[in-house]
């Protein structure tokens, strides 16, 4: 009787151990924007991010890196396979040694929330702003805004 109980106890412990080992392979994502927080140290399977050195996907045990976010779509695949897409304007990506990932965006919104016609209107507005810009600084500003608006339209479509 006691043998059975011991065996069950051991089995339970080994399952627990496996789970614990699996735990280390998971990565913790903090995905926040200045306006709201989407993930706060929650475990996810994969994150795809657009950066200035090219878009890349992050899985657990990714090599530590720093990158700068480019306007585009961040895709988060959660452990249960649920995929969510967010549009980000700019920000930073940090992948640390302990597989924790910080994606900090200046502005981020769910892709579903973007209105395509509004985004297109914004794009044309910035394009006319670029044409009418006189100083170098204003031109650069408008060019950045266009880049962001283009990504916004692409994300919404």
């Amino acid at each position: 009787m006691s043998f059975v109980r011991n065996a069950r106890y051991l089995m339970g412990r080994s399952i627990h151990n496996i789970q614990k080992r699996g735990f280390a392979d998971e990565m913790k994502l903090t995905f926040a924007a200045a306006n709201q927080t989407f993930y706060d140290q929650s475990e996810v399977r994969q994150i795809d991010v657009p950066s200035f050195s090219g878009s890349f996907g992050i899985l657990a045990k990714h090599v530590p890196t720093l990158a700068v976010l480019k306007p585009g779509v961040v895709q988060v695949i959660e452990n249960d396979g649920k995929t969510s897409k967010y549009f980000v304007s700019s920000g930073s990506i940090t992948v640390n040694e302990d597989s924790s990932v910080q994606v900090l965006a200046e502005e981020a919104h769910k892709v579903e929330d973007i209105d395509v016609s509004e985004a297109k209107q914004l794009l044309s507005q910035y394009q006319s702003q670029l044409n009418s810009a006189s100083s170098e600084e204003a031109k650069a500003e408008a060019a950045i805004a266009i880049e962001c608006a283009e990504a916004l339209v692409r994300a919404a479509e």
Binding site: A32, F52, S53, V63, P64, L66, T94, E97, Q102
Partner: protein, 297 residues
């Protein structure tokens, strides 16, 4: 100029007290009622200020809750790489004081200013200040005016936005002051009744690049590190501004609540004195009338 004005004022004030001295009764009654009225008005003001800051506080707290993971995330990289500035021989320090333009909020701003003053008392030759908000400037400019690099105004009227933070970060980087050690001095919000003065370190690109653990990080060039640091400075400033704004509102709420309570106490005492004086005046007049009538008989 100030001395002159004070000299003119003094005799007037003395005269006023002399005048009010011999007349008692009616005149003091009037004086007390004026005083009572003004205290009542002050209480009304402090009460409504409390209401306003309570509303602002609840919003600031909500904002802060959203911004906390952001701020913590922004600090993670610096904590995990354990960066330390190696250049101890000649540290050029930069202190960023997170305050606002508005006063009447307890010791929120003075706490920040006191910390900075203590830091400057140690060594003020290699330290520069960046004052966010007029309050820290007005407190520090008298003694350490030459250390102030720049002041950011119009802080605190509206809730801080990321745009404000990035503007400040931009100015910090644009000043051309190559600091080796940076610190953001701010109040960290704990609860409605308490906040804690805290500091956050800020690093420049050479310090980060020298860090040992950075070798672990893949595919970095100095441009990425530079833009990463610029962005994280803006994020940290944004986060500390949120913390500061929330502490300020909560502290103002408490301060105004206390002020209303004190005004209430004062009103109670003044009303009592007013009634006593009124009675005394009536009694005296009665005595005068009665004794006058008695003298006639």
């Amino acid at each position: 100029m100030m001395m002159q004005r004070a000299n003119i004022l003094m005799p007037v004030a003395i005269e006023a007290t002399f005048q009010s001295q011999p007349q008692r009764g009616m005149a003091t009654l009037k004086a007390i009622s004026i005083r009572l009225k003004s205290v009542k008005n002050i209480q009304k003001i402090t009460q409504s200020m409390k209401m306003v800051s309570a509303a602002k506080y609840s919003r600031a707290e909500r904002d802060l809750k959203a911004a906390r993971p952001y701020g913590v995330g922004a600090q993670q990289f610096f904590e995990k790489t354990e960066i330390q500035s190696e250049d101890k021989t000649e540290p050029k320090k930069l202190l960023i004081a997170m305050t606002s333009d508005r006063g009447l909020c307890g010791a929120v701003h003075t706490g920040v200013a006191r910390y900075i003053r203590n830091e400057l008392a140690k060594d003020d030759s290699q330290t520069k200040l960046f004052c966010v908000g007029d309050k820290s400037r007005s407190i520090l400019s008298r003694t350490y005016g030459k250390n102030i690099l720049m002041v950011a105004n119009e802080v605190g009227r509206l809730p801080p936005t990321f745009l404000d933070a990035s503007k400040i970060a931009h100015e910090v980087l644009k000043t051309g002051y190559d600091f080796t050690e940076g610190q953001i001095v701010y109040n960290k919000f704990k609860s409605v009744v308490s906040y804690q003065l805290s500091t956050l370190p800020v690093y420049n690109a050479p310090t980060v690049e020298k860090s040992e653990k950075l070798a672990l990080y893949d595919s970095l060039d100095s441009e990425i590190v530079q833009s990463y640091l610029e962005y994280s400075l803006a994020s940290l400033i944004f986060y500390t501004m949120k913390e500061g704004a929330c502490s300020e509102q909560s502290s103002r709420m408490t301060a105004m609540d206390n002020a209303s309570k004190n005004a209430g106490e004062m009103i109670e005492k003044l009303t009592l004195t007013f009634n006593r004086t009124r009675q005394a005046v009536i009694t005296r007049e009665l005595i005068e009338i009665i004794s006058g009538a008695a003298a006639l008989n």
